[in-house]
Every structure is written in C-alpha cells, then in structure tokens.
C-alpha cells in the first residue's frame, strides 16, 4: 500500500506532459470506438434485416456469417485481418482517409483494426437488432401490411422505431465493450493508450524518470472506468426520459450483447 500511494510514484503524472500524452492515446481509442460503432450499426442493421427476410438461402448464409464472427476471439480477428490484408488496401485507405482525422488514425493498420472491429461488432449488434424486431407483437407487422404499407414503409414507420428503442440499452453496453476492446488494437502497433503507457514506463524515456507500470496503468484503467460509467449513466437517463415521454415501460432486449450483465425476469 505504501508503494501504491507513495507520492514519488505519482510524480510522473504532473511532470512534463505525461498526462497529456496518456490522454492523447486515450482519445485515439475513443475515436476508433466511435467510428467502428457507426459502421457496425449500419452493417448490423443490414445483416439483421437480411436474416429476417423470407429468402431461405439468404437467411441461412447470413446466420452462419453472424455465428462465425460472433464466436471468434476479437484479438484473433484483428491480428488475422492485419496480417492477411494486402498492402494495396492499406495504401488505398491511407489515400482515401479524410483529412480531419489525426495522423495516427490515417495509418493503414487502423483500417485493418476497423474492419476487424466492424466484422465482430456488426455480428453482435445484428443479433441484438433481430431480437428487438422479433420481440414486437406480430400484429404490428400484420397491421402495417393490412394498411397497404410497402416493406420499407413498414420498417421505417412501424417496426424499426419500436424495435430500435428496445435495443438501446443492449447497444450501449456493446459500445462499452467496444470501447474496452479498442485497447486490443495495440497488438498491431497502433499508437493508442496502451502503447503510450508502455512508452512512459519503458526504459530511459527521454533519459528522464521512468514511470512505474502499476500507477500508469491504474490511471489508464481509471480513464476507462469514468468514460464507461458515464456512458451507462447516459443510457439510463435516456431510458427514463423515454418512459416519461411515452408513458410506457419499454421492454428492452437483453442477453445478446457480448457480455451479458443482467437477466430480466
């Protein structure tokens, strides 16, 4: 305990711009998580709708696709995509990446990381969305058909607004998981918070003080805890506001996110 709270071991935090260095790394993680989330939501919706379509071969194929990506360790996916991706793809990404992104995010390896994260998370989200849509009363879809709505109108006006509301909590908890999972991209040498932590604790950092590993990574862990707690607070808030606004209790889908937290009876 003495070692842990010894002020000398926390000196690194205030000396130089170490704290800023860690924050910059953390920002890379958050950005990767957000970009991956946006694309996973889009791809996940497409997957979920194809899995619910009437076309038998398509639903089977999509079902297998989803099950394979969901059941593979994400780290393995990241490594594999990185190693197997042709160099030309990475160069295409480096050329095409929009200019407002930072240099770290415009690196080709980020493209591999994003593909792996989207492959994995879109499969998980597709299952959440499917459950959200299927949990609706059958009558909803049938009534929409009887009213003469086309498929897209049915989805846009009747099914999705209700289904998506039910999947909000599960989606937020998946976003939290995704935020934590972005630390895994350090394995393919993307300069994010884990790498920055390693640099700080490495030997002879600028010939100056070497930061203690325990304290540096406790601090990094604290950053994640604060961010993720904020996210789950936000989701609770949205849920409560929605309840007050509509006067109904939404029955959320649970149990399909990557790591389930609760059983609702």
């Amino acid at each position: 305990m003495g070692y842990l709270f010894d002020p000398d071991n926390w000196e690194w935090l205030t000396s130089g711009n170490n704290a800023r260095f860690v924050f910059e790394g953390f920002l890379v993680n958050v950005q990767i998580a957000l970009i991956a989330m946006v694309f996973s939501l889009i791809v996940g919706l497409v997957l979920a709708l194809s899995r619910l379509s009437r076309n038998r071969p398509l639903t089977t194929a999509v079902g297998i696709w989803i099950d394979v990506w969901r059941n593979v360790p994400l780290l393995l996916l990241i490594l594999y995509v990185y190693l197997a991706m042709p160099q030309s793809w990475k160069e295409i990404y480096e050329d095409a990446a929009p200019g407002f992104l930072t240099d770290v995010l415009r690196d080709g390896s980020v493209f591999a990381a994003l593909i792996a994260l989207v492959l994995y998370n879109s499969a998980v989200l597709a299952e959440i969305m499917r459950a959200g849509i299927q949990s609706l009363d059958r009558g909803q879809g049938e009534a929409a058909v009887a009213l003469g709505l086309t498929y897209w109108q049915r989805m846009r006006i009747v099914i999705l607004p209700q289904g998506l509301r039910r999947m909000l909590p599960a989606t937020v908890s998946q976003l939290i998981t995704l935020n934590k999972d972005t630390t895994l991209v350090s394995i393919i040498a993307i300069q994010e918070v884990m790498r920055h932590g390693r640099i700080l604790t490495g030997q002879n950092f600028f010939g100056g003080v070497q930061a203690p590993i325990l304290q540096v990574f406790l601090f990094i862990g604290l950053l994640f805890i604060v961010t993720n707690l904020g996210l789950s607070r936000l989701s609770r808030r949205l849920e409560i506001r929605e309840q007050k606004r509509t006067g109904t209790t939404v029955k959320p889908v649970t149990g399909l996110e990557d790591q389930v937290a609760t059983v609702r009876a």
Binding site: N71, L76, I213, F217, G255, A261
Partner: protein, 219 residues
C-alpha cells in the same frame, strides 16, 4: 486445401498444446470467477447498505476496465512493484476477477427474479435469512441464470486469447502466431486457431443447452 491439412499434421503437437493451455486457462478462470462472483453477488444482496455498496464498487470497477489493462497491472505492474507473481497466477487472476464481475451481476439478477413473496413466505415459516437464501432463493436463482452464465463462459473463452497476447503463456492464438511467423501460412495457421476456439465455444453452447433443457425454469 492440402496446405491446410499439412500444417495441421506437421504441427499437431504445437497446436494441441496451445489448445490444452487455453483449456486450462479457461477452467482455472471459470472456477475463480464462480467463487468470487458468488461472494460479490452475496455482498450485493446482503441486508447492509455498506456491503451492497462494496459489491457495487467491485462490479463497476472490473466491468468497465479493459482486460488488457488488468493483465498489464496484474503481471508487469505487480512485478515492478516487487510482488513476485508468475504468469499463470496473473493470467488466471485477471481473467477470473474480470469475469467475476459479470458473474456477480447475473447471479444477483437471478436472485431478484425470485419473487419477494417466496422470501416473505419462507421467513414467516420460520427460516432465518441464510437458510432462506440457501434453500429457497439460490436453487431457483441458479436455474434461471444457466443461459446467461453460458454466454459469460463463451465470452471468457474468447477473452482467454488476450491473456496469451499480454503474458508469456503459449495459448491457442500464440501458437498460431508462432506457426505463422515460421511458415508464413497465415490463412492455415489462423484457420486452425479458429477451429480450436470454435470447438470450445460450441462445446460450451451444447453443454448449456443440455443443462437448460434439464433444469431451466420456463416463465
């Protein structure tokens, strides 16, 4: 295709030992997670506000921290600060304690799924609180949590790959990476690693389904 089979037959020993290491990691972490998770769940449903809060802090801390950070803290961090911890203790400890937070949450919600009336009935029949928990609540709670415990276990099998990457433990993924660097057969090496992980996750899925059919309470 032939290179796929060749890679397996020529390096069967390495791949099998990686598979076995992953199995041991998963088994050890599962036991630790089950024990710590039950204790934390006990704290969270204890009749004291302070104990509940303590359990809450445990869950929120370990659930919101990346496993990789936990692994670095538990091995490199502790070593540098003078605690002589070995890789297996650090790996199983970090993975087990991380999963325990999820375990505790699932158990707690399983307990809450048992209706209050049953607890009140049991108390009024003269059982004391621990007896009520042991005889009335837990048997029912355990049966409702079979399926979520299954998904936690599957997530833990997948997370065990992170242990191998962070520490010097030659698990399934690490063996595949070694093979890849020796043979440059990226597709084949990773294919067999995927097969290894799918074997474990599918086995877990089947086990859960059997347990569910036998014990689960349908509501």
């Amino acid at each position: 295709m032939s290179s796929l089979v060749e890679l397996l037959t020529e390096n069967f020993g390495a791949l099998a030992s990686g598979f076995w290491v992953t199995c041991r990691l998963v088994a050890g972490s599962f036991i630790l997670a089950a024990i710590v998770g039950t204790l934390v769940a006990g704290l969270r449903i204890a009749p004291s506000k302070w104990l509940q809060r303590l359990g809450g802090i445990y869950v929120e801390t370990f659930r919101n921290v990346p496993l990789l950070v936990l692994l670095v803290i538990s091995y490199a961090g502790l070593r540098r600060s003078g605690v002589a911890i070995d890789t297996w203790t650090a790996g199983i400890g970090a993975l087990g304690l991380y999963t325990a937070a999820y375990f505790a949450e699932v158990l707690r919600s399983g307990v809450f799924a048992v209706s209050r009336g049953q607890i009140e009935a049991s108390l009024s029949l003269g059982f004391d609180y621990p007896q009520t928990l042991r005889r009335i609540v837990l048997p029912q709670a355990l049966r409702t949590v079979i399926s979520p415990v299954g998904s936690i276990t599957i997530a833990m099998i997948k997370n065990s790959a992170i242990v191998g990457a962070a520490l010097a433990v030659n698990d399934m993924l690490k063996e595949a990476r070694i093979l890849n660097s020796q043979t440059f057969e990226t597709e084949a090496a990773f294919f067999w690693a995927v097969v290894g992980y799918l074997l474990l996750t599918v086995a877990a899925t089947i086990a859960i389904r059997v347990l569910e059919q036998r014990y689960a309470i349908r509501r």
